[in-house]
């Protein structure tokens, strides 16, 4: 990434990067086009979200009674009560387990694989083959391979467990993660690897002490992206689990949809409840997240 330009600083770069100064980036303070886009986009983002929040406070009976954007004349928490009574906490926990359990290991093994491919790819036919395999995997539509996956899960006796969702989710997160992480690792100046090697570091040590800190922005990006994909995943939980004890949130959302109609306010209440904890997490962790995205290699 943009870490490239750092290699141009005259100082020997292999040393520990200097701590970033929290510099004010003056030229960016006042930016008309960006501001315009920012505020316009805010309106576009907020209207549907506002609609979700407002509608979740209405009863299904008077859903069509008033202006869709009007505040409810008679706000009710009935939908929330209904959703919370439908074992919401369990679905939430399941979703957390599945997301953490698949994205954590997926990013880790992808990181290792990306490192191996970049470092050893030129001299190893095996690694180039592996890389080709991952590239091919980028466009595998989940729906297309769901039946074979289902058969494998049954074979390994994992049907109707959270593990049944975790394993394929983990596997499907790998190709894109390897590609993105690989692009980052490739941009780490070769001299840094050289000097690590001359210091006698092992590849394993170099992976953690050099590549890991330098690819942190990419690791954060990939983790969020894959985390959201798994969090909102619907097909795998649907096909690979069955009992209500193993249900994840996206599956549970469908509980409020009948054959011919949907209880819209109830679904939206569930959506709000699903979103709030993650949003809270984001508000709290935003600083870390951003510094993760920004932290590359010293300025």
């Amino acid at each position: 990434m943009a870490t490239m330009l750092d290699s141009r600083t005259p100082a020997p770069v292999a040393e520990k990067p200097p701590v970033k100064a929290r510099r004010r980036i003056n030229p960016l303070q006042w930016n008309v086009a960006g501001g315009l886009a920012g505020w316009l986009w805010l309106a576009i983002v907020v209207v549907p979200i506002y609609w979700i929040a407002v509608t979740s406070l209405k009863l299904q009976d008077d859903y069509y009674d008033a202006n869709p954007l009007a505040l409810p004349t008679d706000p009710t928490l009935e939908n929330y009560r209904f959703v919370l009574e439908s074992d919401f906490a369990r679905y939430f926990t399941n979703s957390v387990i599945v997301t953490v359990g698949s994205v954590g290991p997926a990013v880790l093994v992808s990181f290792m694989a990306a490192y191996a491919i970049i470092r050893g790819g030129a001299g190893s036919r095996f690694l180039r083959t592996v890389n080709g395999l991952f590239l091919m995997g980028l466009a595998i539509p989940l729906q297309a391979v769901i039946i074979p996956i289902y058969l494998i899960i049954i074979r390994i006796q994992m049907y109707d467990t959270l593990g049944a969702i975790i394993l394929p989710s983990l596997a499907f997160a790998i190709p894109l993660s390897v590609l993105v992480l690989g692009n980052f690792i490739r941009d780490v100046p070769k001299e840094l690897f050289e000097s690590m090697r001359m210091d006698g570091a092992t590849e394993w040590g170099t992976l953690w002490r050099l590549a890991f800190p330098l690819t942190r922005p990419a690791l954060v990006t990939v983790t969020i992206y894959q985390g959201l994909t798994v969090w909102n995943g619907f097909v795998l939980p649907l096909i690979l689990t069955q009992s209500p004890e193993q249900r994840t949130l996206p599956l549970a959302l469908w509980e409020f949809q009948g054959q011919y109609s949907v209880n819209i306010p109830a679904v939206l209440a569930a959506v709000v409840l699903t979103t709030l904890p993650i949003l809270t997490l984001y508000v709290i962790g935003r600083r870390q997240l951003l510094s993760g995205l920004t932290a590359g290699f010293g300025k």
């Binding site: 299904q60 009976d61 008077d62 859903y63 069509y64 009674d65 036919r125 095996f126 083959t129 769901i146 039946i147 074979p148 289902y150 058969l151 494998i152 049954i154 074979r155 006796q157 049907y159 109707d160 097909v235 649907l238 096909i239 069955q242 009992s243 599956l251 469908w254 509980e255 409020f256 949809q257 009948g258 054959q259 011919y260 109609s261 949907v262 209880n263 819209i264």
Partner: protein
Amino acid sequence: MKRRNFLTLGAGAAASAALAACGTSGPAGGGGTAKAGEASYWFLSGPPGESVRTGAVERFNKANPNSPIKPTAFQNDAYKDKLKTALGAGQPPTIIWGWGGGGLKSYVDGGQVEDLTDWFGQNAAVKDRLFPASFGPATINGKIYAMPAETVQPIVLFYNKQVFADNNLTPPQSWGEIMDLVPKFNAKGIAPFSLGGQSRWTNMMWLEFLFDRIGGPSVFGDVFEGKANAWSNPLAIDALTKIQDLIKADGFVKGFSSITADSNADQALLYKGKAAMMLHGSWSYGIIQAQGGSFIKDGKLGYMNFPGVDGGKGDPNDTVGNAGQYLSISSKASAEQKDIAKKFFTSLLDDTEQSDWIKTGGVPIIKGADAKLASSPDADFLKFVYGVASNAKVFAQSWDQALSPTAAETLLSNISKLFTQSIGPQQFADNMNAVIGK
């Protein structure tokens, strides 16, 4: 070299994984995940049916604690995908809930479901208490593969009495009167017909009635039987032309192709008086009752069978819709599970379940159920539905259920094109002729 070996190995593994579906019944505890001595039963979730279905299972399990049924409910679309995967992997549940017709036929062709003909022969009492018409979609090649269950759901022409009264108009008695009403309502700023056209099957109901009223049941019957070029029948072309005439005359609410049926926006148009009429399944009654405030209580909801077309060959008493819901038994199930399922079938639609369905606004597919309807607060509507179902000489199944899944998918996508007028009647017929018998 290494790579080739690797790929070969992979291909072998994949093939064996795919082939694992063949022959072997798979390891115990697959899709159906029923333990020995227990039968599994998958059905649709959501109101109003889910609680009635669960109730029936609970009563059965209480009476048969040693051979229980394990129920699992899925949302409509989710259910179809889930079931397809389970069938493809050879791991279906013991009891399969379905719609009969073309879907059932595809199970039969795949050897997935039990032939129940003999069982019904031995248990005439089970068969005789049900509507005879309900066995149509359960019968494939002269054999019965499913137990008809639950309720009858004809498609009904609903109208807003208030809107008609306010404008001094009377509900249409023929297709000609429908076309006459269209400009009158449009002049008042009221949409003649509400339609959730984005959902596609909603549009299909119109064609089902027009085909029947214009040409009688044989026009679609020819398609169903796989006669070549059956869609090019002049009577079919006439029906397709008539529906496009109605669309061109602004017979449907503006922007109908953007309205979805699952959000019930089409129902809201009717009870809010923004549209005068709506062709929809009998289940709409329950939805309007739940969401339409006092609309039904105030006696504003009118309903009738679809009127005839002047000069048409069809009988205006005929109807289309769901003649019932259908339970099949997986041929993969153990003998013990099959016995449990059959025992469960005999327990279906007992008095409690019948009154449960009546409470939801449904008419159970039991002969003489009308006697039970009188005490319901919705007696008028229920009796009307019972009347339609029992007076119909032909109770045609919804096309998308009657046809094979392959043809049904082509049908729905061409209907969508027909209603947005991107293709004409002739093109529609040509496209559909191509999938006849598939």
